[in-house]
Structure formats: C-alpha cells, structure tokens
C-alpha cells in the first residue's frame, strides 16, 4: 500500500437523458427518482473506502453517464461531500449546462469541465443520437466561461459514418475557434454486434480508407494551432493537461466509486459490477458493493506501465519498464524510427505514435499466457 494513500478519485454517475447509439459506458436512462438513492450509495462507498485515500487528494473526476443530468440538488450534495482536490473535473453534456449549473459547479469547487461536444455538425450528431447541437456547445461553453472556468475541455469524435475529411476539418475549426484549454479527440469505435454497427457498418467499411487519414488530420490541425499532443488522443495548451487522466497513464493508484467504476490500488484492481439495484442494496446494508477482482502480477503492472506510458509525449523511464521490453524488437523499431531512447527513457517518435498499438505490441516481451494468479 502506498504509504501516503491514493491521491486520485473517480466518481461514476451513470444517469443520462437518453442513450447514444455508439456509447458503451455504464449508463442508465432517466430514473430521476433514483438519483438521490444513488448519491447516498456513492457516498457510502466512498466512506467505506475512505481509509485508502491520502489526506490530501490531488484529483477528482466525476464521469458518466451525464453527471450534469443528475438532479442539481443531489449533484450539489455529492460535490459538497467529496474531498477537496487541486483538480476537480466534471463531465457535462452541452445541453445540460445552464448559467445556474455552471455557477453551482463553480461554487462547489469544480475546477475543470469536460464538455462532450462530439461534433458541430447536425447531420453527424444525429448519426450519433446526440440531442444537443453546435449552438448548445457554444452556449454551454460561454456559460462556463461566464462562471469563470479557466480550464475547459472539449470532446470530439471523428470517423462518424458519413463524415468526409472536409467535415472533420470544419469540426476541428469550430472547436479551435472556442480556444478551449484542452481537447480530447477519439475515433468512433463501432463495436461488432452493436445496434450502431449494425446500422452503420457498411458505411464505415466504405470509408475505412479515407478514415485512415483522419487521425493525422486531427493531430496536424491541432498541433499547428499550438496545442500539445501530450497523449494519443489528448491535446492541451498552456500546460493544461488532464492531471487526473495523467495519473492513469503514469500508472498511479486510483480509487473509483459508483457502478461500473474501476479502482487500482497496490497491485489489486477491482471493478464494481454494473447492476444498479444490487449496488444500491449492498450499500444500503453498509456492505461493499458486488465487485470483480483482478490481482495484477508485478510483470503485468510493468507491461501496463509500458503500454500506458508510451501513449504520452514524455519518455517512460527505461528502468521502470525494462523487464517488459523485447530487446530485439526495440532495436528493430529504433531502426525503423518508430521508437527512440531519450535520456534515460523510451518514447515513441511522431510516426511511432500513429502506430502506437502495433509498436507497443511489438515492443512487449513475450506475455505469459496467464499471469493473474
């Protein structure tokens, strides 16, 4: 156990106004009457695990779902009960952000808002089942600025069925025009077997060739605009990286509460099961919620350290990951200028970062078939 305790806390609020076709997070639609019970349960779980937390927590991240869909009074109660931290992020859907909500968040110590814009294009938003539009994003953004938030992140999705390169350029332009401190850009993941893939699979197949260039278009556009490509899918200006997410990528311990939330503390990972009724019932009985446990062998932790660390633009200290690295592959990948040694660390080159998945798979030394026990 890290003597000083866990310094990063994640809180999951699963409720949403409606479900988006592409989404695979643990979410629940509506159920306003249950929000209060759920906040009680989350706080009870936090209480139960309080002993794991450090005296001073560094970051808190409230994700969802749509945390800002939660009844305002319940959201306030939750925020008021969370430990204070240097960075407190809340995820928000544009259409939920009113001047009142922005003020509430500000008043309750939130320092950073991550706004799920996804796109500014009505046609593409419809494909994603998103209710809000470009105007909602801009309105929400300015409400947050008016409430003096100086750390706002926008989420964008690219590779949407029917999206042409020009559409993506327009989306990036719209996002940049707002000058957010932070941007997260994700490629749409169409999971096989989902309703979404069923509906749009053919279109995605057809545009697969064009979409290969989208990632590069995103990176080029944002870096040209002065943003730092500090993680595979994340960009920031003025050093405003997401400190909470950095904790994941740097392999620090974190505690997650709420249904579906994952924690990793001292080589043990656990995940709360996603069923709400059982979660509520357990915590109402003052018991720990049903969980899945995954003990992480030292070798697995090292592999994860390498896999996550290589997503960043700063080198992973070689000494931390040496045992997970296949030296022949390293030599070969260095020769191909995909990986380089910088100082005492390893880092992917710019081209290497575009191929990060394959490069990392190559670089990892033989993975034992089962090292979980």
């Amino acid at each position: 156990m890290s003597a000083a305790g866990v310094r990063h806390l994640y809180v999951h609020l699963p409720f949403c106004a409606s479900r988006c076709g592409y989404c695979d997070f643990v979410t629940l639609v509506g159920r306003r009457d249950e929000h209060g019970r759920h906040v009680d349960a989350v706080l009870a779980e936090l209480d139960a695990e309080r002993g794991l937390l450090a005296k001073q927590v560094e970051t808190v991240f409230i994700g969802g779902g749509t945390p800002t869909f939660t009844e305002p009074s319940e959201l306030r109660r939750l925020l008021a009960s969370l430990p204070a931290a240097e960075e407190v992020t809340v995820e928000a859907n544009p259409e939920t952000v009113t001047p009142e909500l922005a003020a509430l968040l500000r008043a309750e110590g939130v320092t950073r808002v991550s706004l799920g814009a996804q796109s500014f294009d009505r046609r593409l938003l419809d494909v994603l089942d998103r209710r809000g539009g470009a105007e909602d994003v801009r309105r929400a953004y300015y409400h947050l600025r008016d409430a003096s938030f100086d750390n706002i992140s926008l989420d964008l999705i690219y590779g949407i069925p029917g999206q042409e390169p020009a559409d993506l350029e327009r989306d990036l332009g719209e996002a940049l025009a707002l000058r957010p401190e932070h941007l997260s850009c994700y490629e749409l993941e169409a999971k096989p077997g989902t309703r979404f893939t069923h509906a749009h699979g053919e279109e995605l197949e057809r545009q697969a060739g064009a979409m290969e260039g989208f990632f590069q278009l995103v990176v080029d556009t944002l870096t040209d605009a002065g943003y730092r490509w500090y993680e595979t899918a994340n960009f920031c200006r003025d050093g405003r990286r997401s400190r909470h997410n950095l904790a994941y990528w740097l392999g620090y311990d974190y505690l997650g509460v709420g249904i579906g939330a994952v924690s990793t503390v001292d080589g043990l990972r656990w995940r709360n099961l996603p069923a709400l009724p059982r979660y509520l019932a357990a915590l109402e009985r003052r018991e720990r919620p049903p969980r899945e446990f995954e003990p992480l062998a030292a070798s697995t932790q090292t592999q994860e350290r390498l896999m996550l660390g290589l997503r960043l633009d700063e080198p992973v200290p070689y000494a931390d990951v040496e045992s997970a690295v296949d030296l022949d592959a390293l030599t070969r990948l260095e020769g191909l200028r995909l990986v380089e040694r910088r100082g005492e660390g390893l880092v992917l080159t710019r081209r290497g970062r575009f191929l990060g998945g394959g490069v990392t798979a190559d670089l990892l030394a033989e993975i034992p078939a089962n090292n979980y026990s």
Binding site: Y10, Y186, T232, T264, M307, R353, L355, G356, A361
Partner: protein, 595 residues
C-alpha cells in the same frame, strides 16, 4: 503344388474399369470367401484406397479353381505406381487386360498393356461392364483385339458386377496363361516383389518362389542386402494371411522375417537359403527415382517431431517415398520430399493428414533439375532454393505423354500442349471417334496446373498417362520473390524464361493481397538475378492506435494488446516483414497456385 497346376496372374486396367470388382467376384466364385465375409473390394485394404477407388500397394491372393492354384497379384493402375506394376508383373506369367465396355481403351490401359507385353506376359483381353446400357462390347472388343494382336472372338465379355462371364475368365486363365517355370529341386530362390511392415512382427516380404522351397524356421539370406533372418512364418493370402509349412516353386506368398528395420530387406532382392543357397540372384528391379518434389511443413511448427515420425512410419510401407530435412526461413523446419508423381504426392499428403492427424503446408511441387556450372560440374537440384543463381545450363525431365480424347478435342489438346512447350510425336485413331495423341513435354509443365486445364478444357473426356523419357536442356531461370529487399526462400521458382514474367507477376499480386500492411512500405518484387520483373508496394499503415484509454479500461486494452501480440507471434518474420502463415498457404498451396 506341381508347377503345371499353378497360374500367376495380374489384372491391369484403367481406373474405374472394374478391376477391384472383378477381384471380389473371383474370390466369391472360387468360394475363397463366403458372401458374408465379402467386403466390397477386399483387396484394397487401405482406407484411402477404398475411398478413392484406387490401388496403391500390390497385394497377392490365392484362390483354388478346378484343381489349380491361381495367384492373383493385384496391381495399382495409376502411372505414378508403374514401378509397382512392373514389380508385380515380374511375378506373373499372364495378365487380364480389363477395359470398360462403355469407355473403351484409356491411356492407362495402353501403358499397362505395353508394360505387360514388355514383361512377356500372356495377355487375356476382357471387356467388362457389358451390362451397362451405353456399353458397346463389340466395338471395344475390336479395339482391344487390335491392341494386343488377338482375334476379337477371343476377347472375353463379362460383367464383374453381375458375375456374368467370371467363371469363363477363370477357365481362360487356366487355359491360356502358361504355368510358371522353375526348378523345384534347385536351391531356393524367391523374388521379393513387395513388402509391408507389421508393427508386431516386423517386415513381411511378399515373394514369388521361383526355384526350390522354403519351410517355416528356414534360415534365409537376402542375396543383395546380405541380411540373414529366420522365416518366422510362411503363408499365403486368402485374402487374410494364412500360414503354411512350405512355399514351393511357382507359388506366391509371404514370409514374416521379424526384421525391425525395413532398410535391411529391399524389394527386388532375391531370398535364398542361408546355407547351400543359390549363387545367382534373380534379375532385380531398377531403382525408381522420385520425379516430383515438394516441401512439407507442419502448419504449427511445434508439430515438426510428429511429422518426422509420421514420415518414418509411412516410409516403412512406401519405399519409394524420399524425404530429407529442410529448413526454410519462411516456413521453419520441414522436409523436402520426393514423389513418384502428383498422385503419389497427394496420397502421401492425405495419409499424413488423415492417419497422423497433421496439418500440413505443401509447397508448390517442382521437378528435379540437373544444373551444370561454368566449370562443367553438374548437380541435381530438388528445390528452387538450392538452384545456383549463376549456371551454365540446366536440364529438366521430359515425359512422353499419351492422351486419348474424342476426336473433337484433338485441337484442344494440341493447343494445350503447345502452350506447355510440348513437342508433337504422333497421333493415331483408335476408332472412328477416339484419337490417341502422343507428345513430349517437360514434366514441370504437367506438375503445374496441367490436370486441371486438361480436365476443364476437355470436359473430363481426356484420359492421360505419361512416362519419363529423360532429361533435356531447357531455357530455365530462377525467379526469386523479395519482400522489402529480402529474398523469401520458400517462394523461389524455377520456370521457363517465357513464363517467368507471368508467374512472377501472379505471385507478386497474390502476396500484395495476402500480406497485411506493415508499419512501413513493403516493396514486393519478383526478380531474375538482380533484374526485377514485377513489383508492387504494400503501403504502410497510417494508423494503429487504441483511441481511448482511461482507468476503467486498462485491463481491456491490455488484453487487446495481448491478442495483437499473439497475432504477431503467429506471423513469420521475413527480414523486417511480418507475414501471416495464411499468406504462405495462399501462395504455396497447390490449390492457391492457379493462374
């Protein structure tokens, strides 16, 4: 049994002309087996033989007919096994030449008839399947009479299926085929015409006694090999092994030797007494040499020891199978195998996969080449990878190919053979409708896709057979396939100069389709020496990332990466390029190697 009461004979026929059915009927009519004991096609005992309806190994069965002992020595019909046929025929004095009344003489009929004539056998022509509605026994009898120089009236007309005429066949064997010659009182001499391996009792020799006799427990010496052993058991097949006390001059039977090493008793050797034995061996056989070669590799490299053991076991029963270890940078450890022909190759492959449960990758077959270098020295090359890049000249094996087709396909055959560097030899009308064409062709042209072309272009009406006639110089080149500049040994080819571009182009195109994009551009080239004749580029991937990765999905992403890693492990590393096994399969497998 007195010599004049013994008849030794074979049945030679084209595939599916009813040889096995006639053999079954003979066992039944002579009451060697009761009906209840009859299995269909008793003599073809290997599962594969029964399934494909062909005979691979010679077998010998003894029947009694009107006070005579008749020994039927079964022979394979297919050209690949000509050497087995000639061995069997050497143990006989006569042969039934069996022809389908609907199909008439076919290419294998000719080949086998000539073989029988060369062995000075008395030929008894038989037209089978006269019960078929489309049968034309009279016309076929005339063709047959012409072929063997007999009176059409003397051609027997039977239906092995219904049994009609089978007794007459047995009578004809007694009347027309001469009894064996030999000296019952001389020191014993027996020709080993085949052998099999019994895992409990060792080598079982199939013999034709020529002179003298053997008794059980007799001390025996193999004259060529010098091997000595005691005859643990003597007997004959009826059709299962039936022990006897003696084998006498003229008889056909088996000797259980107890030898555990097949190499100590070669087929073609002469057995005699260890003491006071004969001094002169019987004329043996000439060694058969494999003509077609291919690499056999386990699909899973962990199966290499199993493949080696399986080949060893197969070799026990198939002396003609040749193999030696081979290492390919692309395919790992395997064997370069030599076969008597394409069918032999197919059978070996099927037996390995079926009887030994192996998953195999078989490289495109090639022939043996004789390569002469500037200094005049020559080597025989069995694999394109062994072909020197520089040489003075190359010789390749040629065959005399006999094709019989309905006359409307004569043009088709000529066209096909001309495309395949064929040289016209002669043409003959067998009847008004059917024509026999004789061509000389490089064997390499047959090995590559010829049968499929022949079959599809003649709608299956052609019958085809060949004999290797020797080596001739050819304008051959070695084509190498390079991935990112590195040659891939397993994909090298030896082809005629005129065909090099087409084959190179086809391989390059195929590889471009099959090899997944890499992290860098991969040029795929076909080259003769340093001259590139075809080139394609597999463009580098532009993106390969897991988009999102936060605290909640680290485990899932790690597992994705492990899966990706495992996928990579299955690939073969050729230089810096990762090539999936499937890509090699697609390019190398016989079925994948189509134009």
């Amino acid at each position: 049994m007195k010599l004049d009461r013994i008849r030794n004979f074979s049945i030679v026929a084209h595939i599916d002309h009813g040889k096995s059915t006639l053999a079954d009927r003979i066992l039944e009519v002579t009451e060697t087996l009761t009906q209840r004991e009859m299995r269909e096609q008793v003599l073809d005992s290997m599962e594969l033989e029964r399934e494909r309806g062909i005979t691979i190994k010679a077998q010998a069965v003894r029947v009694a007919w009107k006070g005579h002992q008749l020994n039927l020595i079964d022979t394979p019909g297919h050209v690949d096994f000509t050497y087995e046929v000639s061995r069997a025929l050497q143990a006989c004095e006569g042969a039934l030449l069996l022809v389908d009344a609907a199909q008439g003489i076919q290419a294998q009929t000719l080949a086998n008839a000539y073989l029988a004539l060369e062995n000075n056998l008395e030929i008894v022509p038989v037209v089978n399947k006269i019960d078929l509605p489309q049968a034309d026994p009279e016309a076929v009898a005339r063709e047959l009479a012409e072929l063997v120089g007999e009176d059409p009236e003397r051609v027997l007309r039977i239906s092995a299926k219904t049994g009609e005429g089978v007794a007459e066949v047995l009578d004809a064997i007694v009347e027309r085929i001469p009894p064996p010659e030999g000296d019952p009182d001389a020191p014993p001499r027996a020709l080993v015409f085949d052998s099999s391996y019994d895992q409990y009792r060792g080598v079982v020799a199939f013999v034709r006694m020529v002179d003298g006799l053997f008794r059980t427990r007799h001390d025996i010496r193999a004259m060529a090999a010098g091997t000595r052993f005691e005859a643990e058991e003597l007997g004959f097949f009826s059709p299962v092994r039936s022990p006897t006390d003696t084998l006498e001059a003229g008889e056909v039977g088996y000797v259980i030797t107890g030898l555990k090493d097949v190499s100590r008793l070669r087929v073609g050797d002469t057995l005699t007494s260890a003491r006071h034995g004969a001094t002169e061996p019987l004329p043996g056989y000439k060694e058969v040499k494999p003509t077609v070669f291919a690499g056999l590799y386990p699909t899973d490299s962990d199966d290499y020891p199993e493949l080696r053991d399986a080949l060893e076991k197969l070799k026990l029963n198939d002396a003609s199978l040749f193999y030696e270890p081979e290492t390919s940078q692309a395919l790992g450890f395997g064997f370069r195998c030599g076969f008597l022909g394409l069918l032999h190759m197919e059978i070996v492959r099927e037996r390995l996969e079926r009887e030994f449960d192996l998953d195999l990758l078989v490289t495109a077959p090639n022939v043996a080449y004789r390569v002469f270098t500037q200094d005049g020295s020559g080597i025989e090359v069995h694999s394109p990878a062994d072909m020197p890049r520089e040489f003075e000249r190359v010789e390749e094996p040629y065959i005399r190919a006999t094709t019989i087709v309905p006359k409307e396909y004569v043009g088709t055959i000529m066209e096909l053979n001309n495309e395949r560097r064929g040289r016209f030899d002669h043409m003959e009308y067998l009847s008004e409708e059917r024509v026999m064409l004789s061509y000389d062709l490089p064997l390499a042209e047959i090995v590559y896709d010829y049968y499929d072309q022949l079959k599809s272009r003649t709608k299956g009406y052609a019958s085809f057979d060949y004999d290797v006639i020797g080596f001739e110089e050819g304008k051959l080149v070695r084509v190498d396939i390079l991935l990112a500049g590195d040659p891939v040994d397993a994909l090298s080819l030896i082809v005629h100069r005129d065909g090099a571009y087409g084959r190179g182009r086809a391989l390059v195109d195929r590889l471009r389709e099959e090899i997944p994009r890499q992290m860098f551009d991969v040029p795929v080239q076909a080259a003769i020496g340093s001259r590139v004749i075809a080139r394609e580029t597999i463009k580098a991937r532009r993106k390969d990332v897991l988009a999102k990765c936060y605290g909640g999905d680290v485990t899932r992403k790690r597992k994705l990466l492990e899966r990706q890693k495992k996928g990579k492990k299955r690939m073969k590393q050729v230089g810096s390029v990762e090539v999936p096994q499937e890509a090699f399969l697609a390019v190398l497998n016989l079925d994948g190697d189509k134009r």
